[in-house]
């Protein structure tokens, strides 16, 4: 599958879905004008990658300084097939990046972590910019 790379904007995250290496990145701010239009194609490509590829390890990195409720929904939609893949024995690491002192994002990460039983969910504290 072709790598998906989108530059970040003021309201949508930088995207790097590198299917060949199994490394996926979402970084920045996320309250896109149309969350379904933004995340829909990403979710679709992740799903087809998961069903088509072998059980190669996946690292999915999320570092969002802010995301609205539509983006939270989209994140959950991305996380669920990852957890399913991990339940099927695929090594999956989700890395949740949050700025030191950002309680909102840290707590949101802990909430998402609770939905993972098989994938490894890592909380990664970053120095405040």
């Amino acid at each position: 599958m072709n790598r998906i790379q989108l530059p970040g904007t003021d309201r949508s995250p930088e995207v790097d879905f590198d299917f060949a290496s199994g490394r996926f990145v979402l970084r920045g701010e996320s309250y896109p004008e149309d969350a379904a239009a933004f995340f829909g194609p990403l979710l679709q490509s992740l799903r087809s990658y998961l069903s088509a590829s072998d059980a190669a390890p996946i690292t999915f990195e999320v570092g969002l300084a802010y995301f609205n409720s539509s983006s939270a929904k989209a994140l959950m939609n991305l996380f669920m097939p990852l957890e399913d893949a991990a339940a099927d024995g695929r090594p999956v690491i989700v890395r949740w990046l949050y700025a030191d002192g950002d309680d909102t994002i840290e707590e949101a990460g802990e909430d998402f972590a609770a939905d993972f039983d098989h994938a490894c969910f890592e909380m990664v504290k970053e120095a405040r910019v």
Partner: protein, 184 residues
């Protein structure tokens, strides 16, 4: 006469501690610009970063609720969401040392009961229960007629420091004005 008319609007805004208000046709690009101004204002006033984030978050959810659910739609819902324009009001201010974000928009009479029930439910929940309800909703497919995963109202309640206030006022046989106010 002109200045006198607008003086009452100006004074009412000042009296109510309003730092930003918008009434009229709201789009995603208007939301973005208002949000930028709001962030800048809070930065200049040295607002606590965590409070500023919560104010901004509630502002975005309320503005997107207007764009998506206002019955007063300028651009029909068949167009892509990025191009929707809907009528409503939104204001951010301070009152007794707390921020508030308040919004209003017209809703169809048929939606009043359901919306009231959802808000009655949400405002009765503790913060732990809100968190659980939010996670539950994240995992579910969206409710009928909902576009954003029906979790915007829960997000507003979670970020607020007191139960959200809401009210309905009948406009005519078809429409009511729906208002929602959250304190941070």
């Amino acid at each position: 006469m002109l200045a006198q008319d607008f003086m009452s609007f100006h004074e009412a805004s000042k009296r109510n501690g309003v730092i930003l208000s918008f009434g009229g046709d709201l789009s995603e690009s208007v939301l973005f610009s208002l949000g930028e101004v709001l962030k800048l204002r809070m930065q200049q006033d040295d607002t606590d970063a965590s409070v500023a984030k919560r104010v901004f978050s509630i502002f975005v959810e309320q503005a997107q609720n207007i764009i998506r659910y206002s019955a007063d739609k300028v651009v029909p819902a068949e167009k892509p969401a990025a191009r929707w324009i809907s009528g409503g009001m939104i204001a951010v201010g301070t009152e007794g040392g707390r921020f508030f974000v308040v919004c209003g928009n017209e809703v169809g009479q048929g939606e009043v009961t359901g919306l009231r029930e959802r808000l009655d439910h949400i405002t009765a929940l503790s913060s732990e229960e809100l968190k659980r309800f939010y996670r539950e909703k994240l995992r579910q497919p969206p409710d009928e007629g909902s576009l954003g995963g029906s979790i915007g109202l829960i997000e507003i309640a979670r970020r607020a420091s007191a139960p959200v206030e809401y009210d309905f006022q009948t406009i005519n046989a078809d429409r009511s004005l729906f208002c929602l106010k959250a304190y941070i």
